[in-house]
Symmetry: D2
Subunit: 430 residues, 4 copies
């Protein structure tokens, strides 16, 4: 992932250096188990752990010849401690190291992302509670519908991201699986017991059954969940953009001192963070597609998934971490404009309470579609002519004979529409 969209911690998790360190950890712990079984000489693991200095460029140099990264890595260690490394990798296949190492990297990335999600939930909770009773027009199809509150807007996302966090941790838990089952998963030169012991020390679970590799459906699931979280980031960002558009002007992204919106137009203040997040969400979706195509491998494995994973695992996790952090800081600096919300809410007079009038007329004895026609014709007229909905209704012969002005005015009341907000908040925040 390009630097622009990467944060340090995640970049380091996916660096060549960390990758080799994880492999090293796996090999050393495995060798220690071999010692305990009396296969390798006592002390080999400690010698290697203490004496070997990993040098990525030397490893790459060796790979030029071997055309195999794990063998290059092993050769690099053997160059430094020839005798202690005799039983290094004994009974293992490269994928034991690769998949177990990957699980260790993913675990770290997952911990960071879970932290991001926790932070985001906190911001959303704060915004939801602080704006619980700020009325805002609800919009369906982009058209004014009925009142909601600004806090409710954020409460939705709190609820949705809470579900995402559960899904994510479920998928991350599935990825906390290693394998040390050898070339085709049969422990031909190893044993399930040795695997269990080593993985436990590494903080991983053994995958119940493997081929040369851990089945890639776990990886695809993990990438799917990342794409899914991305889709909600996109939804929230998309709606911030809507709230910031000139004609709406209800919420504004932070705009720093010295910030400039446009090279041509000094008056511009654009929701660039949200737009950025919408674009990045597309990438997360695309990585999920690759993950799904990586599942169907040949026989005990082919290596077609490997090249794609070298790119999509770093890219997807780095990007999600970046996106969550950006969203978090954007929300923290978000300017919310209650007065503008009220202005928009009241823009078309009472028509947004047309459902109240409809209900009133039904209660008064009209049939639904009959009542509907009366309300609709007056509402559309009010919108088109800018007229007063209540007045038009009273002047309408069909409506006027059923309801009084007082009754109509009682329906035109945001307070009534919002009386259940507290109950909804209780459901979400307890």
């Amino acid at each position: 992932m390009i630097n622009r969209y990467s944060r340090t911690q995640l970049s380091e998790i996916w660096s060549e250096k960390t990758r080799y360190e994880k492999w090293f950890l796996v090999e050393v712990e495995y060798l220690r188990a071999l010692e305990e079984e009396g296969i390798a000489e006592k002390g080999s693991a400690d010698i290697i752990a203490e004496s070997v200095a990993l040098n990525p460029s030397r490893i790459n140099e060796i790979e030029e010849t071997t055309r195999h990264d794990v063998i290059a890595f092993l050769t690099h260690i053997e160059e430094q401690v020839p005798s202690a490394s005799r039983f290094l990798h004994f009974g293992l296949t490269s994928s034991d190291v690769l998949d177990t190492g990957l699980a260790l990297q993913v675990r770290e990335a997952s911990t960071a992302i879970d932290k991001d999600l926790a932070d985001l939930l906190e911001v959303l909770r704060t915004l939801a509670l602080a704006n619980k009773d700020v009325p805002m027009i609800g919009r369906t199809h982009g058209i004014h519908a009925e009142p909601v509150t600004a806090g409710l807007f954020f409460a939705h996302y709190y609820d949705e991201f809470r579900r995402h966090r559960e899904r994510f941790n479920g998928a991350a838990e599935e990825m906390r699986a290693g394998k040390l089952s050898g070339a085709v998963g049969t422990y031909a030169y190893g044993s399930p017991e040795r695997e269990a012991k080593v993985l436990k020390r590494l903080g991983l679970e053994p995958a119940a059954v493997t081929t040369q590799i851990i089945h890639r459906e776990r990886h695809a699931n993990y990438l799917n969940v990342i794409a899914l979280i991305g889709a909600t980031v996109e939804k929230l960002s998309l709606n911030i953009r809507h709230h910031q558009r000139t004609e709406v002007s209800e919420m504004f992204e932070p705009f720093g001192r010295g910030q400039k919106g446009s090279s041509a137009m000094p008056h511009k203040r654009n929701p660039v963070l949200s737009e950025n997040l919408c674009g990045l969400a597309r990438l997360l979706r695309s990585y999920a597609m690759t993950g799904l195509e990586n599942v169907a491998l040949w026989h005990e494995r082919d290596i077609s998934h490997s090249s794609a994973e070298r790119i999509v695992f770093p890219d997807a996790t780095i990007l999600l971490d970046f996106m969550l952090a950006r969203l978090d800081s954007m929300l923290k600096g978000l300017a919310i404009k209650p007065e503008k919300m009220r202005e928009n809410l009241e823009r078309y007079g009472g028509v947004i309470f047309s459902e109240g009038v409809l209900s009133l007329l039904i209660r008064k004895g009209l049939k639904r579609q009959e009542a509907y026609r009366i309300v609709q014709r007056n509402a559309l007229k009010a919108i088109e002519t800018g007229g007063d909905f209540a007045k038009l209704l009273m002047e309408d012969d069909d409506a006027g004979k059923f309801v009084s002005p007082e009754e109509i005015n009682e329906t035109i009341d945001a307070g009534h529409s919002l009386r259940n907000i507290d109950a909804i908040f209780k459901r979400i925040f307890g």
Copy 2:
């Protein structure tokens, strides 16, 4: 979905008829709650439930004018029972009916798919146990690696589909959520209590917070899991194709009496079922993409997801049901050829035990990469010349001085390689 790839039960779940029936159920139960609250007249719900005959073509006819499907549906009922339906839909918005109805349809589809998965697991278990000890060459990169067993092949899929079943039921459970929260999710003309009561009677849970609709990230998750299951169907099918290819000939799809493989070539017996399943898996992937794009809607909802869902929900579930059933019956009729497996296993003499010789040489004191070079040069020579690997090794000066012919022959033993199969089966099947 076209008939060719549909089974009756699923097609009916997604028929126009069922769709309207689910809406009807929601409206009637809701009306009953209104009765209980004293809003609607007592008995209205029963009158409607008993007197109304749903006629899809009449509804479509009305929709020509209203350009709104739920209103057409309501009008259709009102035409039949004008007075009983006065409070029908009172306080509801269309999406209350649509999303709750959809949840009911999805629940039925999910039950059917769960049954498919249970059946498939049973077939896989049977195949795994029956072939537990049938040796077969394991292949990585499409190249002979080390022995596995035919039963192990199926055990993998048992394990993977078991995980899928859990994921699927988790996603289905999330979809068992309805909403009756009105136009923008605020219960402006309804109440959380009424919603809770009605949904409980329908066997659904209320979504904690909604806009006009239930958040589409649940739907995307459900479609993702379907795509993920499809990817494993694809993997299994892909590998059946591999096992059936002429040069391998280890497994064969059922081939019925009177079946013809090719219009031109009467000798053909093709793995057409597996190929078919591979193709259909691509479609499941594509529907997942659409699901992910459906998440980010405007404000309290826009209706862009609706057209896509009308297609992908039926198509994805009908297709998955069809695929699982086809896979099931294909596996039941699968012909497994142990003798051909043995022939392939032994094709290259002992070279597939090169790891055993490598381990032996290391135990004898050689350094890993040194031992590797010796084994590699003899193994590649054996493959290229068709020579005897053990013999070549003994004639190799570097190897010959470390190991005896007896020691080499001991390493060339599939039994040793497969000694942990039982332990793996125990992990999976208990």
Copy 3:
């Protein structure tokens, strides 16, 4: 594709009936060529063409046994005219018929879609010219930028769809290829000459080289172009939705007498057609993905593409035809509101001409970033406070000493901004 999103002509092209008719056409013309070469008896082709009645349900019945559609089709003919059909399909493989038949269906679908595109271009041209000089605020990032015209909005799409039409016809032309090269594309029992003759009569070109099938990269390309056109339909629809949103209210989709926007809220008038088109565009994208995955087949072909194509070719073309027609009729009924456009354009006074003031200050000798800071601070203040931009500038010490009120007022002029509209239209419409 479901009826809701299908038009008759396209549905018929993809009906089982048409499919068999195309196969029939291919077989009969091929048989005629065999007659001319003296292989089949003279008159066979005519006998078949005249006597055979295709009955899809009988064909399906036979397929139950043969498990092969083309053989079932051939058997169905042989049942009716046993002797005349002796040389039917002689030297052909099923895919000769399938791929050539598909090419004939695609050609018809392409002709219909090209007609849709031509119609759409005509509507766009009309809208562009009729609204060429209607000023409207241009928006970047959803924020008011500088003036454009309503006609220019449509001119963009004219230009873009014109490119699409070229791309589409290019892709359609590639699909106008048949093959009659036999089981593995070698004309083992046929000849290139016979193929050339028959295809010419069918109005197709021979694919230069084939395996059992025509390479699927042509098909993927065709589906890609369809997805690409869908993306522009989506863009146009998305922007109609933007223009219709309550706060903007510049354009309105047609809204029929008796149409109802919402079952709950009689005041709603929603851009449902545009929303619908946005959703359907997602499906076109997903079909393209399937097309791309269908390219990489095994050896001389595997049949995994076939199941997917049975769905995506009809679905993609039917949907695109439906979408273009819906877009066309929506645009024809589009209500455009010049007065509302002007109101929005003038909403923030002169700030939208901030670039003009910036340019003025640079011309007066200020450095760009210096001038920028002056203009930016006054523009943002005008927006936040609702103040008069020109007035604020004059009161600004830094600006005031460089420019006069007259000079500022001259820059605040939509006419100047739009002076090149005619030149742009000339480029597009000549």
Copy 4:
């Protein structure tokens, strides 16, 4: 893109350095035009061109404050040459520079990729011609079908990549478009004439009509074509893998001295290059999806496409270049095994000529399905029992009375099946 899958030339095209250089070029040439129009002082462009040293890290530093990359870039220049840069960017918007700069980068990338395609075509032509007459079994569904030749295999790809090259150059030509039309594409502070002059000097065409940006459907098209080429790279690679699999052993990827196939199994020689290419093709597909989602932007543009493009344009082009080069060198070192091909071809005796026998029986007067049944039962028996197809046929009462042993033997002849290979090659290579 990670270094592992990048080549120098393409990486440099997409470096920050090159990006800024292209912007610089655009700004300087534009300034020169302003000089020629008498707006900017004579000589400014030359002063800037000669004096300014671009320092990416300083630009990034400024961007920390401005939160706008182009403004940071401009400020960086103004810091160095304050007076000469007064009219720099005068009348331009950032996207004028960004999109025109991008077009220049894409043009270079396209030239490199076109060269890759030309090289690949040359290798394919050589392989096709050299192996034109090497018989190989053709396989459909992975099952032996009828003979082809090894050269024909490569000829297919030659033909397909030739089409790709045309498509690619078409899409690249569309991308050779710049824009200097200002903030909303109206030339409000510029002119079409100035744009035409500057773009001509840069070797680009003006886009006929633009908003703030060039329409992204061109970009999506370019990425689609890249994905499409990737799909054919995948097909070729997939089939090399098939030909190399142990049981087939007809073609082998190059395997260098010192190369190691597996860390566990010294006997392995795996088709890792082809597998790698199959994985990378998945990524190209996913980038195309992102490209399609980037088309539908808001109004005169939103910037959501930008973040995604920063990643997918470099990644897609760098990857395609890498893939084509890897494919090229892999094909150059490909080992082709005619003797193994012949062995496989003859594995099942004459059954692969079952179509010949079918044709013979039809000529002898049998009806097609009758003849089919006779041939099928003998062919399947020959395959299952390993029996001699010709002998079985002669012993079959139904067949034996129609044909003589000589006639059967004449049909069992690869030479006859391959008699049209030259004609096919003539079509392709002239």
